[in-house]
Amino acid sequence: MNIVRSHVLVCGGTGCTSSGSEKLISEFEVQLKKAGIENEVSVVRTGCFGLCALGPIVIVYPEGAFYSMIKPEDVETIVQEHLLKGRIVTKLLYEEAVSEKNDILPLSETQFYKKQQRIVLRNCGVIDPEKIDEYIAFDGYKALGKVLTEMTPEQVIDVVKRSGIRGRGGAGFPTALKWEFAAKQPEGVKYVCCNADEGDPGAFMDRSVLEGDPHAVIEAMAIAAYAIGSEQGYIYIRAEYPIAVKRLQLAIDQAKEYGLLGNNIFDTDFSFDLEIRLGAGAFVCGEETALMTSIEGFRGEPRPRPPFPAVKGLWQRPTILNNVETYANIPQIILNGAEWFANIGTEKSKGTKVFAVGGKINNTGLVEVPMGTTLREIVEEIGGGIPNGKKFKAAQTGGPSGGCIPLSLIDTPIDYDSLLSIGAMMGSGGLIVMDEDSCMVDIAKYFLDFTVDESCGKCAPCRIGTKRMHEILEKITSGKGTMQDIENLKALANSIKSSSLCGLGQTAPNPVLSTLRYFEDEYIAHVVDKKCPAGVCKDLLQYTIDKEKCKGCNICAKNCPVTAIIGELKKPYEIIQDKCIKCGVCESKCPFDAISRK
């Protein structure tokens, strides 16, 4: 490997790739050659830097200049000015990373990164995920080496236990307990699995880890295998993540070539092999028993527990399953010690959590914060607030299984137990921010729509119950609901929760229950006043023309796609409500603000 004086890091995560980062890489190669400095500067495709809203992102080291929203046309300027002449192109920098004196600030001092602490994402956006040497350079596989040469399996489990880490895939089960159960099973074939199904809509934490630092997960799985006495692992990942699948496969191949997977790793008795299994993207296949059934080659349907997978999992053998992010913490815990990890976070939730922040927020992206950080810090500081001066209304955590957190609880510290106590849950880390223009009944309907689609149909409460709940929500949002419907919703929700077979059904009513808990007045407005306070539910909206303000210019009538607006030039126009499809075009076209939506 040549020593070069400058590194150009281009984000190759899914977000930046779709906003054109591949083109940037080839353009950099062309421009560097043109400037004759292709041997002094290397272009590296990394994983996600986190600030997806500003992609594609390019970071130039050693200066640490953080360029955002770079277009192919900008590449020549960066090469000629910055890389050739050493003049940082301030106008292309992420504005938060420029100080008042026009110097560049270290990224760690920008609003977006200041409160973050990167353990899981430490290599994302720093190393080239396709080069195992770069992972090794930043202490990769050192934890595996330490475990295999200096520690017994019991000691490994003990360190994990004392670190206090809990599963990041949703339920927050203590990781060490699971490992301990599996380790205590009689010797014989055991399996280690990784859940990279990530079915929660809006979540992309696990994908980003696999795209940016695949070896961390591989190393951790080998450590887990050593701890429980397994020789075979599977990573279950959805086929809709092509970049992650490709990098993961490459990483496995490289690890095998180096002998970090395979027989007699580090010349010990320990052997471990790893394979990828592709999923077809069904949400239910993220549930542990369904996932294992799917790996076995059957239709991905859950089965009752017990027996728990740690006793009888894949092919009836003891199996542990952990989430991608859970695994990504393990090598760091081994290297830095249980106490180091246990010092981060809150009393019962240790370490950090990665969130995929989306919805009505300025800095859409990936953030990693210590447990116990408040929602306000994530939304207002790291997330840069709500766009267009709108007000925060609520945030949904845990996706379709979770609940919402209203403004009144925005100072809640985010950890497993506080979230549960307010009717939400940690989930896998999707965090969707909603502003005053969001209708909470509509949001609940959206998530239920998702679970109705994704229910596997094996058990009746979930298959039929969620459908009935969805119908009631449909009725309420179209203005035909009654107060009895709200009561029925609650009753249905509680019986589905208590009688469904798997976690999907058991949690599906949560979005309805939590919006009812904090926003029941909105449901009542839909039912009693036949109004949608946020102005979202189309059936409850009316567009009307203010006769005083209308100048009779005819612009609205010309633009209405269904000719629902009639009138005479220079006289007030009128909307025929029966014909109106509520598309809102007239409102946006009226030059006199005479049309309103109520």
Binding site: R87, I127, A137
Partner: protein
């Protein structure tokens, strides 16, 4: 992979080449003036010589980077060496050969090359 030593060898080999991606203040920096004046005076071969020499000697924790006009165009090519905890040393009228000597004497043996420094230039 048969041993931890092997792993460590790969680590050391690669770390030098990617360590400059750490946002850190520590470490030695060599900065080359690469504005139009510097380039015209021959800063480019100086920069290449520095990078090559750092690579050849497998030096760790050294960053070679470039900057704009340092402000003494008549003395170009100019390089500045920042060693943590020491005063900055400015070398002027550099050539690739002189640059190599700066690496071997100043960076490796910790003895700044007095005759090339800016304070000697006008004597």
């Amino acid at each position: 992979m048969k041993s931890l030593a092997e792993l460590e060898a790969i680590r050391n080999k690669t770390l030098g080449s990617i360590n400059l991606r750490n946002d850190r203040e520590e470490g030695t920096r060599i900065v080359v003036g690469m504005a139009t004046c510097g380039i015209a005076a021959g800063a480019r071969p100086v920069l290449s010589a520095l990078v090559d020499e750092v690579a050849k000697r497998d030096l760790k924790d050294i960053i070679v980077s470039q900057t704009g006009c340092i402000g003494m165009c008549r003395l170009e090519p100019i390089i500045e060496v920042y060693v943590p905890g020491k005063e900055k040393v400015t070398y002027v009228r550099m050539s690739p050969e002189k640059a190599v000597r700066v690496i071997s004497e100043h960076i490796v043996n910790n003895r700044p090359v007095k005759e090339f420094t800016v304070s000697e230039a006008d004597k």
